[in-house]
């Protein structure tokens, strides 16, 4: 394509890291969520659990991590962020 091609509105692709039961039940360790508009954390969580209704019991206990830290869900996410869904942890 030449530089003069008409600008196409590109979807934002959020890559979301999954672990433990979320990874195993979805069969992937990265879930990609495409959106025309920027998403907040809570919108992204909503999309994930809509796409995976079998996991809906985890919705109220799954935490959001952005760039390797737990994070409130209100702010808008950047597709360049490292995003992860953290089900209740059981290390130790």
């Amino acid at each position: 394509m030449s530089d003069s091609a008409p600008a196409v509105r590109r979807a934002l692709d959020y890559r979301v890291h999954l672990f433990a039961v979320l990874r195993e039940k979805t069969g992937t360790d990265i879930w990609t969520c495409s959106s025309e508009t920027p998403l907040s954390g809570s919108q992204l969580l909503g999309r994930f659990f809509e796409a995976h209704p079998a996991l809906s019991a985890m919705r109220s206990v799954t935490r959001l991590a952005v760039n390797q830290a737990f994070c409130l869900e209100d702010p808008q996410l950047d597709p360049n962020d490292e995003i992860a869904l953290i089900p209740p942890v059981s290390g130790g």
Partner: protein, 182 residues
């Protein structure tokens, strides 16, 4: 593990110094070198060296367990363990050294899945800090345990006690209102 606890790096096998606390954390697949950690815990200013070994147990809620597998979000697990250590530095400024190594992958009954050392001048703050470290790790460090039972079944453990999406523990101020940038 780093040989120079005075440096501050955010790479794996990290060592960090915060307000006089020497802290080393690691999330590793290999068996934990407990002897090395015991040697590393000795500090000339510390009369109390406390150690904790979390060990794979052969039962859970009455079901026989034959082995465990741990999965880790390695980068964040180490970052979160450093935040736990920062909490120690804040609450017990006399504690001089903390080491935490968490193992992941499969392990058999009897293996040490986590080993913690806390070195303090005196035992009261050492006991309190050690309790704080393991409790915070169990609440907030992104590592998950899968149990394999003798009957052939297996299950991820996702203890939900006290956990919900907005359970961000703002009292400890680890959670930020805006995503941190790398």
């Amino acid at each position: 593990m780093s040989q120079s606890p005075s440096t501050d790096t955010s790479a794996n096998g990290t060592s960090t110094e915060r307000k006089g606390l020497e802290c080393e954390v690691a999330v590793i697949r290999a068996p934990i070198d407990i002897e090395a950690l015991n040697r590393g815990a000795v500090h000339p200013a510390c009369g109390a060296v406390l150690t904790f070994s979390g060990t794979v147990r052969n039962h859970h809620l009455g079901r026989p367990v034959v082995r465990l597998a741990y999965e880790a979000y390695e980068g964040m697990a180490e970052a979160e363990m450093r935040r736990v250590a920062a909490g120690v530095a804040e609450k017990w400024p006399d504690v001089r050294r903390v080491q935490v190594v968490h193992r992941f992958g499969e392990m058999d009954v009897g293996a040490s899945s986590i080993y913690i050392t806390v070195s303090a001048p005196h035992r009261p703050e050492g006991f309190e800090a050690l309790r704080y470290v393991i409790d915070r790790i169990k609440r907030d460090v992104p590592i998950w345990k899968k149990e394999f039972y003798r009957d052939g079944e297996s299950e991820w453990l996702h203890p939900e006690e006290g956990c919900c999406r907005n359970h961000l523990h703002l009292e400890d101020s680890e959670a930020s209102s805006a995503p941190p940038k790398n």
